[in-house]
């Protein structure tokens, strides 16, 4: 935590005033000078928004249909007439150097985005796809699923088409689950997102591959619903979680594991 100084105290006072739209002309100039060294800071504007959300009375009035219709029309126009990113409405009091710095950051971010788009294959539509169709795709992975890491308790097969970002798990013998009590959740360990030294299990933030149920005996196909693009899968794991899945898994109940060969 930084220690406030008289200079930062004054800066915070002016930022608070700006967030409340009570900054006088002379104070605007003073704030501009202070921000020249400190860089712009919208934390008080965000704080005002948070406070507004916390204090605002519940408003059940629906958005008028005419307003919604005009919004959707505006959305269509926005998409058909792409425009440059809007400058911050507060940027008028920021020094030019800051603006140039922001542009540089934006350019770097754009480069990273382009690189990411080039690296990750385009995700296909989420329409259901068959096991055989995925398995026959060029370059598709076929991974045995087992109840143990040694692969001695096979429980199914997973196929993953990296090009189209789609996959299917085929289980046989995986226990039926009561969705109101617990559900299965797939985790995809992606080495392109997080590196590891000895074991892919070192990856702490796998991709959520979706929550699913086993509702029939025999062979059951389950489509994979990867929430973000997967670059280099190095391990697939199915856990048993509370209904709806979890955002943090304690990994206490693992139903199946598959490691690409």
């Amino acid at each position: 935590m930084s220690t406030p100084t008289p200079g930062t105290d004054r800066l915070h006072e002016l930022l608070a005033a700006r967030a409340l739209d009570e900054l006088h002309h002379d104070e605007s100039a003073e704030l501009e000078r202070l921000l020249a060294s400190a860089g712009d800071d919208d934390s008080f504007d965000l704080l005002a928004a948070r406070l507004d959300q916390a204090l605002a009375p519940v408003d059940d009035e629906p958005v008028p249909a005419s307003v919604l219709a005009s919004l959707h029309e505006a959305g269509e126009r926005f998409l058909s007439e792409p425009v440059p990113s809007e400058p911050d409405v507060l940027a008028s009091i920021a020094p030019p150097a800051r603006t140039l710095g922001s542009l540089g950051w934006l350019a770097a971010a754009a480069c990273l985005l382009l690189a990411a788009l080039a690296w990750f294959p385009q995700r296909s539509a989420t329409s259901p796809v068959g096991f055989d169709a995925v398995a026959s795709a060029p370059g598709a992975l076929t991974v045995g699923l087992s109840a143990d890491l040694a692969g001695e308790q096979p429980i199914g097969t997973l196929v993953w088409d990296a090009q189209n970002q789609r996959g299917v798990m085929r289980f046989e013998g995986l226990a039926l689950n009561d969705p109101s009590v617990e559900q299965y959740q797939l985790w995809i360990f992606d080495a392109s997102r997080e590196s590891f030294n000895e074991s892919p299990l070192e990856i702490r933030h796998p991709v959520d591959g979706g929550v699913f149920d086993i509702s029939a005996d025999g062979v059951v196909d389950v489509p994979i619903d990867a929430r973000v693009p997967v670059g280099q899968p190095v391990l697939f794991a199915v856990t048993i979680e509370p209904p709806g899945g979890v955002v943090v898994s304690d990994r206490s109940r693992i139903a199946a594991v598959g490691i690409p060969g």
């Binding site: 935590m1 930084s2 105290d9 915070h12 608070a16 005033a17 409340l20 739209d21 009570e22 919208d42 934390s43 008080f44 948070r50 406070l51 507004d52 959300q53 916390a54 204090l55 605002a56 009375p57 408003d59 958005v63 008028p64 307003v67 919004l71 505006a74 959305g75 926005f78 425009v83 990113s85 911050d88 409405v89 934006l106 985005l113 788009l117 109840a147 890491l149 308790q153 096979p154 429980i155 097969t157 226990a175 039926l176 009561d178 992606d190 933030h205 796998p206 991709v207 959520d208 005996d217 929430r227 973000v228 955002v247 943090v248 898994s249 990994r251 206490s252 693992i254 139903a255 594991v257």
Partner: protein
Amino acid sequence: MRLIAVHPACSLAPYAHNAVDLRRPSTLSRWSPVPERTLLQRIAAGDETAVQETIDRYSGLVWSLARRLSPTRADAEDAVQEIFVSLWKSADRFDPSTAQESTFVSMIARRRLIDRLRKSGRRPTVSEPLTPHADPAAPADTPPQEGDARAVAHAFTELSEEQQRVLRLSIQHGQSHSQIAESTGMPIGTVKTHARRGMIKLRDLLGEFAGSPVTEASA
């Protein structure tokens, strides 16, 4: 590959006994998934479907703000469209490590609405009487909160009564400091001091100086 029935039982409970123990080695921590991109991040990445989804998700929030911070209903209707266009254009500025997406939306909306008020020279009127006996800072009209809103509301109660009153009139009702001074009888300098110090104290209470991120998951 031969597939075998390992756990034909209807309950998953017995399966836990045979489950792979990935809790070893002990140095491994829990898994949390790679975060999904937010609507605004998707817009910034060129996902056209996210534009319409923002309307579905945030039109109620923006409409509520516009109704409250606009002098007339007609002004509110005009403002909503302007806010959304501004939001879409600003999508690439959203950083989920510093704020919830809904907070960012509120911030953009507030800025637009305040800008419109400044240009028009008009402020919304407060329908509630602003006497000390009908203090707008009273909790009666405060909605039930959860997550971040609850934390903010709790921190808000740590402010002095005067600070709470001034900030509620300013932020929630869009009142200018001079309007607040007139309605409360406080000198305008006192209103200004309560507002600024209240905001700074609230920021301190919420640990903003530590730069703690606020995520949707925490809400």
